[in-house]
């Protein structure tokens, strides 16, 4: 009898890139749910806009580059990029913010470098950084969390805010928007207030900012599940959170009136999203075990630095982008000892 030949190994593979992307999206669910609950349905609209744009852009770019577009789209990486970008945007950011962001992320962040696997920078964070630098005002206008809002936004209200910048029932749009706790902290401390005064404000909750603490808990839960399933390496989130927690603890102990508690840092802004979902983007992160620890720690440290002394309230995007650049070097110097070679 005759058989077709094939090279070893001959076992059917158990993992696939598409599956990994899908699982990561699933793991985002608790965080997204918390955002939905705390900041209204705007996040869903952002997600829909960004994902649709990303898919259209990806398929157009693949066609332009004469690549098989079905294989390229079916890996779900464009969807994941769009989702990571969308959940970082303010819940009532104007529609073109999501669209532009996704477009930038896919075109500049990913396809111009050669598509999946070849991009040196995290595409979602490229999109986010471009938006933040180009349109700082709509990018920093958040909503108050549900328990502070006079009238929580319904889906239609959110849509009209996103689509034509109109608040519900004739109220002005600007009345809806609000600074984030990290933002408030920064400006208030800048005005010479003490930490106690700042944190007694309505925006601050038991752990960190109201609303934000839930969102962070949501992403933490999803992240732990990713770890359990072995879909991300533990070293990156561990390094990230340890560095951020350690640094903030140190400074807090030294000057509690100038620096917020480590808990605040860990559960504020994009901390958990960044530690488990953004810094762990395999394509752009360090890949050796030791390298990942260093990489994560440097991002965490940089986040603390930017938050404490930098020009932006949250530093996750810039910290990640900066360390993306360093990843190849970190990898080079943290190669593990190979069997049979002296240590």
């Amino acid at each position: 009898m005759r058989f077709n030949t094939a090279p070893a190994p001959h076992l059917a593979p158990t993992a696939s890139t598409r599956r990994i992307m899908q699982w990561v999206l699933v793991a985002m669910a608790p965080g997204i749910a918390a955002q939905l609950w705390q900041f209204g349905p705007g996040v869903l609209i952002n997600l829909a806009l960004a994902i649709a744009t990303a898919l259209l852009t990806e398929s157009a770019m693949l066609r332009l580059r004469a690549q098989p577009s079905r294989a390229g789209l079916s890996d779900w990486s464009a969807v994941l990029t769009a989702a990571l970008l969308a959940v970082s945007l303010p819940p009532i950011a104007p529609w073109w913010i999501s669209v532009f962001g996704a477009l930038f992320a896919i075109v500049i962040g990913k396809q111009l470098y050669g598509g999946l696997g070849y991009n040196p920078f995290n595409p979602a964070m490229v999109g986010y950084a471009v938006l933040l630098i180009s349109f700082p005002k709509p990018m920093t206008a958040w909503l108050p969390p549900t328990d502070l809002a006079a009238t929580p936004l319904g889906l239609l209200d959110a849509w009209s805010a996103i689509a034509h910048r109109a608040g519900p029932a004739g109220s002005s749009f600007d009345a809806l928007a609000m600074a984030t706790p990290l933002d408030t902290l920064k400006t208030q401390l800048g005005l010479g207030r003490t930490m106690d005064e700042v944190q007694s404000g309505p925006l601050f909750g038991a752990l960190a900012g109201k609303g934000w603490q839930w969102v962070n808990l949501g992403y933490l839960a999803g992240g732990l599940w990713l770890l359990r399933r072995g879909l991300i390496a533990w070293q990156i989130p561990a390094g990230f959170l340890a560095a951020l927690g350690g640094l903030s603890l140190g400074f807090y102990l030294l000057e509690p009136q100038t620096y917020p508690t480590p808990l605040f840092h860990l559960f504020a802004g994009a901390t958990m999203l960044g530690a488990f979902f953004i810094a762990t983007d395999p394509v752009t992160a360090s890949t050796t075990p030791k390298g990942r620890l260093i990489y994560g720690a440097l991002i965490g440290g940089l986040v603390f630095v930017i938050r404490s002394w930098g020009g932006y309230p949250d530093g996750v995007a810039f910290a990640v982008l900066l360390l993306n650049l360093a990843a190849p070097t970190i990898d080079h110097y943290t190669r593990p000892r190979v069997y049979g070679h002296p240590g």
């Binding site: 030949t5 094939a6 070849y118 190979v338 069997y339």
Partner: protein
């Protein structure tokens, strides 16, 4: 007794699929109508036929001989007529043909009168090695390296013999079957090998998912003749049966890169090889049969067969009930490292441990490779602690120098990285291609270096001769004139300078060996 096991990096927990074949009792395969013996042995060296077409041969008779200790003889595995010595497809994915001896069996299975039993304790190691060589024994774990050569410690200090019973590839159960059915032969073989190698300690490593085999071995060991032999269960992690991995697990030592196990003070043999050594030494039987696993969803009745070397795969499959309707791929060896064959007309050679016929559900379909997402799963799985994604990157970019820096040459081609890659990149294929290119380059470099050194040595010699001639002429001149004190001083100094060997002057015999150092590949 407490025994500390050492861990190796990476490795995989794979579905074993061992019960398919291990549940059936060991059966003896009938003599097939036709036996085929390829003359090409390890490393492309051909043995030469010592019989002619038309000759009648007996079971156990030498039919081909090689040209050195690396190339042990081949014996007929049953009696019959040599019907052809002609090119036949080799058990290789290419299906390339090379010379083979074909014997039409006569069904009589005639053998010469059995030799007298020998008491091997009276024999010197060299004599034992000669018997092992003459019996045609090679490593039965898959590498088929000449056992006589591999058991020669040479100048290296060896303190441990390792017997490899850690059959780590899924599906394969031939060693399990051997250990269950012939535990005594294996342990006796271990004693002989200890004597050959000159060690007091033998560690027999066996995976913990082979309880019956462990029990059988321990029972025989109870009889008490086996001082110095330890039976050690190791966790069933692929590739714990890889030579380098097993050495690390059992001794904590590592085979240095580009070295052989002997450099770590150990010599490693497969358990099947040990049994073959026992039969050869104690009973005078050459290596003409071995246990072969026939298994997979493509086989009707999976099991283990005591099979004559030279039996065509098709016959063995027939004895196993034939193929099922879903038979898809024919693999010689295990699913991780085995080679896939184009046809079942190929014969089983000495190293053949398993015929795996996968069903459609078991094998990889045509998988489309996606770009590497640098997830690092491959690096986590690599038992050598390499960075496969980097190696892939450099091999693909033809940056062989970088690939070398990242220790491409240390890859054992175990397939762990390939199997876990979510982008389904055929990593091992890339590594294999890059490695063969590297080897070719190295060969060229060796040749070039050799030529350059010879040239330099010649230049240096000419230079020296010229100088010596000049000096001789001067001495002559000086001898003619009346020597004064200062000239005598000069002459003495000159003589002294000549006596001192010229600093690192290259000579022709200092040139390195032309071929790269020989390496023993892993068993199993």
């Amino acid at each position: 007794m407490m025994f500390t096991l050492h861990r190796f990096h990476g490795g995989l927990h794979l579905d074993a699929h061992k019960e398919d074949s291990s549940l059936a009792p060991l059966a003896t395969a009938p003599v097939p109508p036709r036996l085929i013996f390829p003359l090409q042995q390890r490393g492309g060296q051909n043995a030469e036929a010592v019989v002619q077409v038309g000759d009648h041969v007996r079971k156990g008779q030498v039919i081909a001989r090689g040209d050195g200790p690396m190339n042990p003889p081949i014996h007929a595995s049953s009696s019959g007529i040599v019907s052809a010595i002609e090119p036949r497809p080799l058990p290789h994915p290419s299906g390339l043909a090379d010379l083979a001896i074909v014997i039409d069996t006569d069904g009589e299975d005639l053998a010469p009168a059995p030799e007298e039993r020998r008491d091997y304790r009276q024999l010197a190691p060299d004599e034992l090695r000669r018997i092992i060589f003459e019996a045609g024994i090679v490593g039965l774990g898959g590498a088929a390296f000449s056992t006589a050569v591999k058991t020669d410690p040479g100048h290296r200090a060896i303190d441990t013999l390792i017997l490899n019973g850690a059959e780590c590839e899924p599906y394969i159960t031939c060693d399990d079957s051997l250990l269950r059915n012939f535990p005594q032969e294996v342990l006796e073989g271990a004693r002989i090998l200890m004597r050959v190698v000159g060690v007091e300690r033998c560690l027999l490593g066996i995976e913990d998912d082979m309880p019956e085999a462990i029990r059988a071995l321990r029972e025989v060991q109870q009889t008490g003749h086996y001082a110095g032999i330890d039976i050690i269960t190791v966790p069933a992690i692929y590739p714990s049966g890889g030579e380098k991995q097993l050495i690390r697990i059992l001794t904590g030592r590592e085979v240095p890169t580009r070295g052989i196990p002997a450099d770590a003070g150990v010599i490693c043999q497969n358990v099947g090889t040990a049994a073959a050594v026992f039969r050869a030494v104690a009973r005078g039987e050459p290596l003409i049969e071995r246990i072969v696993t026939v298994t997979g969803k493509g086989i009707k009745h999976p099991g283990n067969w005591l099979t004559r070397i030279g039996t065509p795969i098709a016959d063995l499959v027939r004895y196993s009930g034939g193929y099922t309707g879903t038979a898809e791929r024919l693999i010689l060896g295990g699913p991780m490292m085995g080679i896939s064959l184009p046809s079942d007309a190929l014969p089983l050679v000495k190293a053949a441990n398993c015929v795996l016929v996968t069903g459609r559900s078991e094998t990889t379909g045509p998988k489309q490779a996606l770009p590497c997402i640098r997830c690092g799963a491959c690096a986590d799985a690599c038992p050598i602690n390499l960075l496969p994604q980097q190696l892939y990157w450099y091999s693909r970019a033809d940056n062989l120098q970088r690939a070398e820096e990242y220790h491409l040459a240390d890859c054992i081609e175990c397939g762990c990285c390939d199997y876990v890659c979510p982008s389904h990149i055929p990593l091992v294929q890339y590594f294999r291609a890059a490695k063969s290119e590297l080897v070719a380059k190295q060969r060229e470099r060796f040749k070039a270096d050799h030529a350059r050194e010879r040239f330099e040595a010649r230049q240096a010699r000419k230079e020296r001769e010229k100088q010596e001639r000049a000096e001789a002429a001067q001495r002559k001149k000086a001898a003619l004139a009346k020597p004064d004190a200062s000239e005598i001083q000069d002459a003495i100094a000159r003589a002294k300078a000549r006596k001192r060997p010229p600093e690192s002057a290259p000579t022709a015999d200092a040139a390195p060996d032309e071929s790269p150092p020989a390496r023993e590949p892993a068993e199993n």
